[in-house]
Amino acid sequence: MSLQTPSETQSASVANAGLLARLKSIQAPWAWSFVGAVLVWFAIVIIFGFSIASNVAQTALVYGVFMVLVGLGQMLVITSGVGNIDLSVPSTIALAGVVSMQVTNGSNGRIALGLAAVVGVGVAIGLANYALIRLLRIPPIIATLSSSFIIQSLAITQGRQLPPPPSALGAFATGRFLHIPYIALAALVLSLLLGILLHRSIYGRRLSAIGQNSRAAWLAGVDVHWTRCIAYVLSSVIAAFTALLLAAVSGGASLDMGVEYMLISIAVVVIGGTLVTGGKPTITGVWGASMFLFLTNAVLNAVGADAGVRSIVYGVLIIVVTVAAGGKALR
């Protein structure tokens, strides 16, 4: 929000320049993904009609929201500095899903216990990840990958004879308030909380600081490791929470329900306009990019494109967006 002031003065100063130059001066990288999402949705309205388009929007608010959730966690980790990435998201989803189903055991009375278990799994994984990175000095990409192997094995050992999710949880997952799924509302609440955390709290300032220049932040007295550690823990907790919702929506947890979210979680962060080198997150961008990717996927599905073509379009989109956005001189 504070970013608007410089952009307004800037756009006033270049008022005489062309429209393109003015658009470029807008410091809102998240806007592009939103524009993309809206354009794709209008394309769906024009091609398939309004009723189908509103159906698609409803689905997007359930399944697209899972992309938002994993993306938010990944965003925190990526913001904590260059090279930081969490590849353990899929296995965290697998383990948390399995554990939560075992703990709740299908009974409504044990949902609170299940939630606690989910948070516990998330915290434990986040701490373990950061311990590998910090204590053993393994690069994050390899550390979170190695831990994800172990987590996956843990999930396999716990994954036999899974009870179905409690009925109340299932009702929550499919329920709606004013046509908006509860899941989307839950994600919205989480986004607002994260927004406050990132933009209105000391922790958010610290996270941005270590992402932009961890040495400068350290010299300024920021506890770099603790701040980064919390980012990893939050990412794992959010992924674990996503697992609970995923299991509730699909009527049970499965070991591979998180597989696709490894690349997706990174893709929505990047397309959304979060700075990949760290220090500048955008929550709105994650929403825009998730909706954009989900809707694009829906269109491709509708025109009968197979998995291969969809994957190619995803890839080209990511590359085009990055190349168009360009990077600041990093050195």
Partner: protein, 311 residues
């Protein structure tokens, strides 16, 4: 002349030490692995992994990271199993196009100053997609010459060891000993100095990415020669395996600090680690987990030995 054990020496020897650390328990459990037949069986899949590792090494040399090498190797195998068999010319052209695409991406990354992780992530989607379009279900056949080449029996020492040593030697000479290699490594070590000297960073990056593509193609083809059929998911795990091998071999994410011989040893260590698990009779539940654990143990060994070096 006395041989002092300094940190620098330890550091250079680390890949060899990790290899021994994995090799000794294997020999203890299965002494037969020392034989010609045993070693060729154990290291059967080492050659494609070594080649993929060198592809990754080329990219890590300029402080970038390639998240698309696994899908790329799969795609090459798919092209080899379909186009290269039916229309050899078209297949060769497609492979050349892939290498060119790699080089273009390298140039693009430097020109636009964009993070390689993201661009190669996008590429990973593209390669996977192309592979699925080419070969929707596992199948295809390997070109005959490829199978013959990969099954060639070398005298005395098993073929995978001979090939790996040869690749390591050639790679080492090209990257570490030739003037072109030094220039290219400079792009990772000190890009500003390179630019002031008037050498094009764009060209360096394009070259290295092109080399990565070339090694990726060789990795895919050698893998196809061994498996004789392809699958769009054949080599997805190579991405992380190759990064781990480079790190294990003494490579660093910054400063163009890499070692070809180390990376090759790292790749062999990781190949052996996978076989090691098979000997241990671990329940299938923990197979994947043990891979992670071994990776962590071997990498933490690196830190223990480097501790003094860092201060």
């Amino acid at each position: 002349m006395t041989f002092e054990i300094t940190q620098a020496r330890l550091r250079a020897m680390l890949p060899a030490i990790s290899l021994v650390a994995v090799l000794v328990p294997i020999l203890f459990l299965q002494p037969a692995t020392l034989s010609y037949f045993g070693s060729s069986l154990l290291l059967n899949l080492a050659v494609p992994i070594v080649l993929a590792t060198l592809a990754q090494l080329a990219i890590i040399t300029v402080n970038d990271l390639d998240l698309s090498i696994g899908p790329f190797v799969s795609l090459v195998a798919c092209i080899g199993a379909t186009l290269l068999v039916k229309q050899p010319w078209l297949g060769a052209l497609a492979l050349a196009g892939c290498v060119l695409a790699y080089a273009t991406v390298g140039a693009l990354i430097e020109l636009r100053q964009i993070p390689s992780i993201v661009v190669t992530l996008g590429l990973a989607f593209v390669w996977s997609g192309l592979a699925i379009v080419l070969l929707p279900s596992p199948g295809g056949t390997s070109p005959e010459w490829l199978g013959t080449a990969m099954n060639y029996q070398t005298p005395w020492i098993a073929a995978p060891i001979v090939w790996s040593a040869l690749i390591a030697l050639i790679g080492h000479l090209l990257l570490m000993r030739s003037s072109a290699g030094v220039r290219i490594r400079g792009a990772g070590g000190n890009p500003r100095a390179m630019r002031r000297f008037g050498w094009s960073l764009v060209r360096s990056k394009a070259t290295l990415y092109g080399i990565a593509g070339l090694f990726g193609v060789m990795s895919g083809l050698s893998l196809l020669g061994l498996t004789t059929s392809a699958d769009a998911n054949l080599a997805l795990r190579y991405t992380l395996l190759s990064i781990a091998a480079v790190i294990l071999g003494g490579g660093e994410f910054v400063g163009g600090r890499v070692s070809v011989v180390g990376a090759v040893l790292g790749a062999i260590t990781l190949t052996l680690a996978a076989s090691f698990l098979a000997f241990l009779n671990i329940s299938s539940d923990w197979q994947v987990g043990m891979q992670g654990a071994i990776l962590i143990v071997v990498l933490s060994l690196r830190v223990l030995l480097q501790r003094g070096d860092r201060q």
